[in-house]
Symmetry: C2
Subunit: 229 residues, 2 copies
Amino acid sequence: MHLIDVQTGLLADNDAIAAENRAMLATRGIYALNVMSAPGAGKTSLLERLLPLLATRWRVAVIEGDIVGSADAERLAKLGLPVEQINTGGACHLDARMVHHGVHDVVHGPSDVLVFENVGNLVCPAEFDLGEDDAVMLLSVTEGHDKPKKYPLMFRRAGLLVLNKMDLLAMTDFDVEVAVAAARDVHPGIAVIRTSCRTGEGIAEVAAWVERRIAAKRGRPAPPSPKAG
Amino acid sequence: MHLIDVQTGLLADNDAIAAENRAMLATRGIYALNVMSAPGAGKTSLLERLLPLLATRWRVAVIEGDIVGSADAERLAKLGLPVEQINTGGACHLDARMVHHGVHDVVHGPSDVLVFENVGNLVCPAEFDLGEDDAVMLLSVTEGHDKPKKYPLMFRRAGLLVLNKMDLLAMTDFDVEVAVAAARDVHPGIAVIRTSCRTGEGIAEVAAWVERRIAAKRGRPAPPSPKAG
């Protein structure tokens, strides 16, 4: 009971800061995307493929969350985008407070799109709103089609489910139909796109989904942004 | 600072209960193993292969941790072993309090070996001692060889690293030597065994590792236990 009270307080505190983050981003019309998955599902690999497509139209910034180290931030910085690394220490997720300063910097910079790459974890990241517009989750087919039943909150939170590592599908007993049915059982409206970050399959579809979401947020058909530089 | 104080208090509380669990198990000479990994790395599949080998000599019981549901417990119950399911609700790990009643039941039953299958997560399970003798972690080769650098505490906690899904190795860019070197960088003494739960590769080696650990705990060369029934 004590633990639950602490947890409830932390989440209420988080939601208040997330609301501040969201309001700051709204003042500049910046679209924010929270990318989540289990460790090793391919978040950074997806972003290496996806962000160059988005960057043809939008100025993209990244806030990168990891327990320790900066390996993923270094990979994404090679794309020529601004990347801020957050080390969460013991914490198994990003929270609204951790990203607050980064959001502030992005709001006062030249960006149109902000991507949070969350800590690899299917549980806690789903509980902590960062102030994003949309959440995307990756499920790699090597993880098994039982995951929506085992980690339902994550699938409920995400607007888009990316089924990644499709190039390995034939080597696994992953059943795409079972996985999609299970995901839609917990979240009927979830969009699903199949990708392979090795072959490039589906990446353009993910970019198109994000473009539609940006257009919906801005209330008009995805206009080109005046890119800096 | 507030958050850190709460966390420190919770962990101290956990360690006290874990010590009770460990003392209870010691009164009966029961060996306990805590099995951890990211979601979908193959914990249940490994146990489906491993526990029948251990069960030829020992009476094995399982405490199964999941956020929701009982799919994994049902898989393991088919082995004819006693399995207790714990649903952690929002919590992304087992803790010593959650398993305390289950440990009590096992201590008052006929078991020689107790296996905890933890929640799929590379972060928090490593922080919560359950009272086990040894921790094993699975890393599937589809997750990437960068994981020891990104989740060091888990690799530091585990006495054995199981590199699973070796049947998929050729389809990935996973470098076994890089992964093992990175794991030994954070934990020089960690044992490493390569497995495939599809082909059966390495499972006998894992069983032999567990047998050696049981023998070490009991202070004599792994004697057969009088099996019930």
